[in-house]
């Protein structure tokens, strides 16, 4: 049977020789313990596994993308969550190690009080936070160096993942000081993860309709193409203050608990309590500010952009197209140009001359920030935005299902504008999604790049209905496509390109006429169209 020995906060070894004050020696010992514990923390199997997982998640997100850095900084938060979880588990195990090893009484022979040991454990989390910082900086530097990278990372968004690691570490220490059971920390961790996921899901469903979801820890970026940073309206700085406030409060509570357990001097306990109160006040203030509804100025600006997207875009002419992009997104034009040129090159020069220049413009599904179900009747391009454009999102990359769909959307939209051009301002193009012109446009788009062909195949193979669009956030400018037309286009894409081009060019006016059916196109090409109902 062991007997618990209550220690005074002052060092048991006070007054030893050397001329160094006891307080300084105790501080040095605490720092030495913090260094040892941080080394053990960094080598803990859970931390090693979480680090590997975090690196893999960061790499997977950034691989092949043309990043928008004010979204990429938000995307560092979820990959760092495993490190935060590992920090919680590993610090809790470290704090409880003396209890597991029966070494509690042995600490009485050292010059370290319980509060100093707690502080050492809290400080040991800092190198893990630094490791997270290195991962975030390396990730953002890697992404910034990629071709087509746009935007600027927000410091508070980039630091949120690090605050989560610190929060996890502080919570692990506190739980160890409150309950001497290693079973508690994993249960608390899964409860927190469950709660965070629930809140994150609720926010995705409601965005600005549920500002209280910011009381959670981890909130992903809205699930549509990144809009300009000024329109995002995430209270990132206040959320960081909120998380840091909770972290400091947990640390102060752990210290206060240690001081109280060790019956330390009243002054030290009061100091810890004051830090706790200050941290709680900062947390409460940040919680109130971050859960305020979106300001009316920002809401009006978003609505104006949704109603008339052209107003926020800057345009420049390059070759056969006018590119209209959000200010600061110009590097993305270089990434789209090869696709646009490849589509134009497959159109007879005379027909291209009638339709050019085609306008390629950013459309990002911003209306979902205002109303998830578009009940307000707002949708991008609904207002006086001029002639129909070929819409393109701000999410772009080399491979992956999402990016292939983006390639398909751009290529097929440009092709649709060439096949069915607008004759004048405000005039609707004559477009029939289930006739021959849709097949021709889809073939033009698919032959532009392997990614576009893959995107078309992906959408056609797994359609939600007989009419499809190449975007999860379709706008009025997005042409619609019949699934049967898509299947026919995929069959055409398997045939030699030159052979198809020659036949189409010879019969261009017929195959692009709105009334020409798929059956007639099949006769022209000498092919049997795929079976299926016309839409």
């Amino acid at each position: 049977m062991t007997t618990a020995i209550e220690h005074d906060d002052r060092s048991p070894a006070a007054g030893s020789p050397g001329g160094v004050p006891a307080g300084a020696r105790s501080r040095r010992s605490m720092l030495a313990l913090a260094a040892v514990e941080s080394g053990r923390l960094l080598r803990h199997p859970a931390v090693l596994a979480a680090t590997a997982l975090s690196v893999w998640l960061l790499w997977r997100w950034g691989r092949g993308t043309a990043p928008v850095l004010h979204y990429a900084d938000i995307a560092t938060q979820v990959p760092l969550a495993p490190l935060a979880g590992a920090a919680l588990l590993a610090t809790n195990l470290a704090v409880l190690r003396p209890h597991r090893d029966g070494a509690v009484d042995l600490y009485g022979a050292t010059r370290l009080s319980l509060a100093r040991r707690t502080l050492a454990h809290l400080l040991s989390v800092l190198p893990l936070v630094a490791l997270g910082g290195i991962l975030v900086v390396a990730d953002l530097a890697w992404l910034a160096s990629m071709p087509g990278s746009v935007g600027t990372p927000h410091l508070a968004e980039a630091a949120t993942g690090l605050a989560l690691i610190a929060l996890g570490g502080c919570l692990g220490v506190l739980l160890g000081r409150l309950v001497r059971s290693v079973a508690l920390a994993p249960l608390v961790l899964v409860a927190l993860a469950f709660g965070s996921l629930t809140l994150a899901e609720l926010q995705i469903g409601g965005h600005d309709q549920r500002p209280w979801t910011w009381l959670g820890t981890l909130l992903r970026a809205p699930p549509f193409d990144p809009p300009p940073a000024a329109l995002l309206g995430r209270p990132a700085t206040w959320h960081l203050v909120y998380l840091l406030g909770i972290g400091v409060a947990l640390a102060a509570l752990a210290l206060w608990r240690s001081l109280a357990q060790a019956r330390a001097r009243r002054r030290a306990q009061v100091a810890a309590a004051m830090v706790l109160v200050a941290a709680l006040a900062a947390t409460a203030a940040a919680a109130v500010v971050q859960t305020r509804p979106t300001s009316s100025a920002l809401a009006e600006r978003r609505l104006a952009v949704v109603r008339n997207p052209a107003a926020e875009l800057v345009c420049q002419r390059r070759g056969p197209a006018n590119y209209c992009v959000f200010a600061g997104f110009e590097p993305q034009i270089d990434l789209w140009e090869p696709t646009v040129r490849a589509v134009v090159a497959a159109v007879p020069p005379a027909a291209a001359a009638r339709a050019l220049p085609v306008t390629v413009a950013h459309r990002v599904g911003l209306h979902r920030l205002i109303d998830e179900d578009v009940n307000l009747g707002v949708q991008e391009g609904q207002g006086p935005s001029g002639p129909m454009v070929a819409p393109v999102g701000t999410a772009w990359g080399r491979d992956g299902p999402l990016f292939e769909l983006a390639h398909a959307r751009l290529a097929a939209s440009v092709a649709a504008r060439l096949v069915a051009p607008t004759r004048g301002d405000g005039e609707e193009p004559q477009w029939t999604p289930c006739n021959a012109q849709a097949v021709v446009a889809l073939w033009l788009g698919g032959q532009a790049s392997p990614q576009a062909a893959e995107g078309i195949s992906q959408a056609v193979t797994d359609p939600f209905s007989e009419i499809l669009v190449f975007s999860h956030d379709p706008v009025l400018d997005d042409p619609q496509w019949g699934v049967r037309a898509g299947r026919f286009a995929l069959t055409l894409l398997d045939r030699p390109r030159d052979q198809v081009t020659q036949t189409l060019w010879r019969n261009w006016d017929l195959v692009t006429a709105p009334e020409t059916t798929i059956e007639r196109l099949g006769e022209v090409l000498g092919m049997q169209p795929p079976s299926g109902a016309d839409c």
């Binding site: 859970a46 997982l53 195990l93 597991r100 290693v182 079973a183 994993p186 993860a193 899901e201």
Partner: protein, 257 residues
């Protein structure tokens, strides 16, 4: 295992039940079940529209929460002392699991009932999901049994809980070809459940191997030969004297270990 020894082990069950029920740390397991049900009740509640894929994800997360309780089920600081008792380690650990089975069954029934009650029209593949839950619990037990060799005082939960969370996270990120968490009706569903069944078998085997009684560890053959050679002279009369009693044979076997 010889049939005679197996019979002797089974005869010990009634005597072991009460001491083991006292030795088991019930709080983590029951707290995990309660937490699992509470979180599921929060995520799956009437009036909240939820997609079937999301529902299944919450259900699987609830399984992981409950499995955390099993991570601490085998924790036994008195292990080094009770090595010498007649019941083998595998028997004692199996009894711990058996004692928790009624609560586990009640938890699972409550989970299924909650989902059925909130979403009565949703087809829930109960048998396949029960297989997933059983395999997850078995993997946790295997981790706890293996962890008890690594952690001080046979507290395998210290190893098993973080390992379970790490493995569960990794399982959610597996590529489609080897996925474990497939969606009902998808092409990967049958393959994923074959993998779950295999995992269940492997985990039970690993649990049995990691729970081999330390008192029955066999010495290397050269060491056994040396021991036999050293003790031949003194042991021979004693062996001859005890040879009539089957219980004595068991004791000799234990003393060699």
């Amino acid at each position: 295992m010889p049939a005679g020894r197996l019979r002797r082990q089974f005869r010990l069950v009634p005597a072991l039940l009460v001491p083991i029920a006292r030795a088991v740390g019930w709080v983590p397991a029951l707290a995990a079940f309660a937490l699992s049900l509470g979180l599921l009740a929060l995520a799956v509640r009437p009036g909240l529209e939820i997609a079937p894929t999301d529902l299944l994800r919450w259900l699987r997360l609830a399984m992981i929460v409950a499995a955390l309780g099993y991570a601490f089920l085998l924790d036994d600081p008195s292990g080094p002392t009770t090595e010498a008792v007649a019941g083998s380690l595998l028997l004692r650990r199996t009894l711990r699991v058996v004692l928790l089975l009624p609560a586990t069954a009640a938890w699972w029934v409550a989970v299924v009932w909650r989902i059925r009650a909130v979403h009565p029209g949703l087809p829930l593949p109960v048998a396949a999901l029960t297989l997933e839950a059983a395999a997850l619990l078995a993997v946790t037990l295997a981790l706890a049994a293996a962890g008890s060799h690594l952690a001080p005082e046979r507290r395998g939960g210290v190893v098993a809980a973080p390992a379970l969370l790490t493995l569960a996270t990794a399982a959610f990120l597996l590529p489609a070809q080897v996925t474990l968490y497939a969606q009902p009706g998808s092409a990967a569903w049958d393959g994923a459940h074959q993998r779950w069944a295999m995992l269940l078998g492997l985990a039970l085997a690993a649990f049995a191997v990691a729970s081999r009684d330390p008192a029955h560890r066999r010495l290397p053959s050269w060491l056994r030969g040396l021991a036999h050679w050293l003790t031949r002279g003194r042991a021979a009369p004693a062996e001859a004297g005890r040879s009539g009693s089957p219980d004595a044979a068991g004791q000799v076997e234990r003393s060699v270990g």
